[in-house]
Each structure stands twice: as C-alpha cells, then as structure tokens.
C-alpha cells in the first residue's frame, strides 16, 4: 500500500508549492492528485494536459453524463466507465510522477460527484504507487467530504495568523467527526513566518516541522507560470521542503 500524504491549509499558504517541490524528493512511482477546481498544480509542474490529450476528472465525468443522456444502450455502468476513463483519459504520466486533476466544472452544483469518484478510486489507484500525494483546495470543505479516509501524513500549511491556529483546531475536529484516520499531523510554516512568529506554531501543541524559507524565485516562477521543477538545486524553498520531508520520515 502506498504512503498517503495530504497537503492542506488555508488559502495562499503554499499547499501546492509544497506538493510541487515535494514531488522532486518522494519515492517513485508517485501519484499526485489535485483536488482544487481552480487547478493550479498542473501549471506549477509544467504539465500541459491539452498537449498530452489528457482531461480533468470533471471534464470526463460530465462528458460521460452527457453521453449517457443521449445514448440509451449502456453496456457497462457509469461507475465502471468513469473508472476506465480515469486511467485512459485523466492520468497524466511523466518520468517523475503521474498526475490526476479534479478540474473546473461549468455546471451548477458542488464538486461532490467528481470528489466521490476520486474517493472511490483512490484506494485502487494507490496500489500501483509507492507514494500518493493529494493537494487540497483552500479551506475545510474537502475535509468534510472525507475524500481520502486513511492518511499517513497530513501536512497543514500555516500562515502567521491567529486564524491559522483556529483553522488547526477546526480541522482536527472535522477529521475526528467525519472519521478520517491519520497517523501524523504536521504543521509547516509558510514563508511569511519569522523567528518570533514561529514560536506561535511551536507552542500550539502540534508537531511543528519548520517553515518554508522565502524564495524570490518561487514568486517569480509563479508570476510567469513557469514550472517549479526547474528551480535550481540550491533554492531555499526546495531545501526547506526537503528538510521537512526528511523530518517527517518521507524520504
């Protein structure tokens, strides 16, 4: 069974940056799952879905639903069809990692349908990988949905604010109530932390693994939409992520 890692936190704390940089160190084969409808992980990794002829889970799902409506002779169930589409159409493959993205939907309603599909499929997908990493949308709703019900390492990215501490308390309560099992919950400080503010996390009663050092290159790459995989080896952010993963025993 693969090691299952989740990156979560409030908006703008660096969840996707953490996953993108972690992909350079984690034990392959690695599967990355982007749960954010605002799909930024693929861009940050330079993965061009269109060019590779790949689709998001939302696109594939709503396409299947539309086809089902117009064609009345289904030979397999929608579930089976979707699962096979996940493999054939939605799985982006590269040397370093494979990637599945939830994607934006342009119909009314929530993302429960594509989320549920992923939730059911993740255990099967996970058998083929050593590491599975899930990048979350900002906030708490994805936790209520219990998309990954068994997690080895839950990394909570924090910005220096009282809101972050409240967020941690809230997500622990949600995880307990919805029955998500996790082995470790780690706090990681975003680049906005300085020494003094870090004490804030150290005294929170949770395991604090350190902060992601400020890295002007990450800012520049994000501005230009360049892949974070091209960051040089001595990038402060990259080294921070390596240090944090080592502390967590992930590499």
């Amino acid at each position: 069974m693969a090691r299952r890692i989740v990156s979560t936190g409030r908006g703008g704390t660096g969840k996707s940056t953490f996953v993108a940089l972690a992909s350079r160190f984690l034990k392959p084969p690695t599967l990355l799952i982007d749960l954010d409808p605002d799909l930024s992980l693929a861009d940050m990794l330079g993965a061009d879905f269109d060019r590779e002829g790949k689709r998001t889970v939302s696109e594939a799902l709503y396409d299947v639903i539309a086809r089902r409506k117009s064609n009345i002779s289904p030979s397999i169930t929608t579930d089976e069809l979707m699962e096979s589409l996940l493999w054939s159409d939605c799985l982006y493959e590269s040397r370093k990692f494979d990637l599945i993205t939830l994607g934006t939907k342009f119909t009314e309603g929530c993302y429960c349908a594509p989320d549920n599909l992923l939730s059911r499929t993740i255990p099967k997908l996970a058998r083929n990988y050593v590491t599975v990493v899930m990048d979350s949308p900002a906030g708490v709703e994805h936790l209520n949905r219990n998309v990954m019900s068994e997690v080895d390492d839950m990394f909570v990215l924090c910005d220096p604010s009282d809101k972050s501490l409240k967020h941690i308390a809230r997500i622990k309560e949600i995880l307990q109530q919805v029955g998500t099992r996790y082995n470790h919950l780690y706090l990681v400080g975003s680049h906005e932390f300085h020494e003094q503010a870090e004490d804030f996390l150290r005294s929170s009663g949770q395991v604090y693994l350190g902060r992601i050092d400020y890295d002007p290159q990450v800012e520049e790459y994000n501005l230009k939409g360049r892949s974070l995989l091209q960051l040089p080896e001595d990038s402060p952010a990259l080294l921070s992520v390596q240090r944090i993963l080592a502390k967590a025993g992930c590499i």
Binding site: R10, G11, G12, T13, D36, P37, D38, S40, D43, T104, K105, F106, T107, E108, G109, C110, Y111, C112, P137, A138, G139, V140, E141, N144, R145, N146, D159, P160, S161, D162, K163, K166, H167, R170, E173, I174, Q177, V178, G179, A197, F200, E219, N222, L223, K224, G225
Partner: protein, 257 residues
C-alpha cells in the same frame, strides 16, 4: 433592494480583509455574509459570535435536524419556515455599523450545499432590509458553481501576482456565464504583493482594474494576534486603498471618512 457586493478570489489574497475594511466606508444598514466554512471574517471584525449568543447557519441547521430526528418528524415541508425564523432570531449578529451572518463549520460528512442553500433562500428576503449586502467567499470557485447569489451588482476579484490569478479570472468569467449568474460589474483588485511593475499584468487583461491594496504592517500584526481590523488608524495604507477602490467603483463613501 440592497446592492449585492461579492468579494472573491484565490486563497490568501485578502478577500476578507477587503470586506472588513469596506465596512468602514459603506453606508449602513449593511449585512455581511461570511460564506467561508473556515469562518474568519467575524474574528477579523473583533466579534465573538458565541459570546453574543449567536450561532452559525451550519450549527442552526444541524440543531434543527437533530431536533427533528428526536421528535420523529421526517417531512421537510415546514423546514424552510423554521429555518428562516431561526436565522432571524439566532444567526444575525447586529451592531450599529453592520449586521453579520456566518455560514460556519459543520462537523458531519458531506459538502456545504445544505447550509449554502439555506443562505441562498434567505438572501432575497434579508436584502430588503439593507442598503448593501456584502458577501465574503471561501477561496476558489465552488461557491460560484453553487449560485448562492444569482444577481451580483459588484463582483470584486482580489488577485495575487501570479499567472494563476489571471487564469482564475477567466474561470470566474466562464462559470458565471455558463450558470447565468448576473454580474453587472467585475472589478479586479491587486493585493499588497503587487509592485508597480507587476500591476501592468492586471492593466492589460481587458477587465476593469481598480488598483491595489497597499502593504500595511498594521493588518499583518492584527491578523497574527487575532485582533479586529476595525481599530486600524485612519491613515492605514490598506484601509485607504480600499477606500480608493470603492470610490473608483462608484460608491458614495460615508461622510467623516
């Protein structure tokens, strides 16, 4: 009918800060609605809902469902009436400057469609009692897919300096168009991380760019310590930026500010 104003954007860009500071300049009576289950707007305004005996929409909804289960009621026919009454009596925090309703965290499995639907149903009736209804969104796009508001007067999209932000604006446009969400004005607002140079990216999008929120150490300090943004001094760079943005969007600013 009140003016419907929505603040949205990617995570961490300053949506709630914008809403909190806008309350200083808009005309009362106004209603603030925090749609983020991670409920941070109240604390940014220095409000402790529970010590004021107020509940979130999620809490109220769960409470009513529990009561129904206990009493053996199963029908949903009366639910809307009970809910609307509970919102009025339990969920609206009132102050001279503004009223506030928060969606709140739920601790049960599943999405926030139910509490969102409750707010959606309540907004038209609530809006009649106010000059402005100011809605703070959770990060991302899902709340737009839910059509919590169907007719927006001013949609402020707060942006950080990244290529992702520009793609986000395109997605917001595509979703609102596909779902036929009325959106009379879409305004872009840059956050404090923009420089004069990176602001050019926003000027060239073809959307209305209203300016950026200047960096303000006072905002950072108050967010770190969990203090209210309402006691920022009158010359706070962030507050003055919000004022400038509202003026450009055509708002009449409250006298004395």
């Amino acid at each position: 009918m009140a003016k419907i104003i929505v603040s949205t954007g990617r995570g961490g860009v300053g949506k709630s800060t914008f809403v909190a500071l806008a309350t200083k300049y808009l005309h009362p009576p106004m209603l603030l609605i925090d749609l983020d289950p991670d409920e941070s707007l109240a604390s940014m305004l220095g409000i402790d809902l529970s010590s004021n005996g107020k509940k979130t929409i999620s809490d109220t909804l769960c409470h009513i469902m529990e009561q129904n289960k206990a009493s053996g009621r199963t029908g949903y026919d009366f639910l809307p009436a009970v809910l609307q009454q509970s919102i009025q009596s339990d969920c609206i925090y009132s102050s001279p400057e503004f009223d506030l309703i928060t969606l709140g965290t739920k601790f049960t499995v599943g999405c926030y469609c139910a509490p969102d639907a409750v707010i959606k149903d309540a907004i038209p009736a609530l809006a009649q009692g106010y000059q402005e209804v100011l809605i703070d969104s959770p990060a991302g796009l899902e709340h737009l897919n839910r059509k919590v508001v169907v007719d927006i007067d001013d949609l402020f999209v707060i942006l950080d300096p990244s290529e992702k932000s520009l793609k986000h604006v395109e997605r917001v446009r595509a979703i609102t168009a596909a779902l036929k969400v009325g959106c009379h004005h879409l305004h872009l607002v840059g956050n404090h991380r923009f420089t004069t140079e990176t602001e050019e990216h926003l000027r060239n999008t073809g959307e209305a760019y209203l300016g950026r929120i200047d960096f303000d150490p006072g905002v950072r300090q108050r967010n770190l310590e969990g203090q209210s943004l309402l006691d920022l001094p009158g010359n706070s760079p962030a507050a003055l930026s919000v004022k400038g943005v509202l003026l450009k969007a055509g708002y009449n600013i409250k006298l004395g500010n």
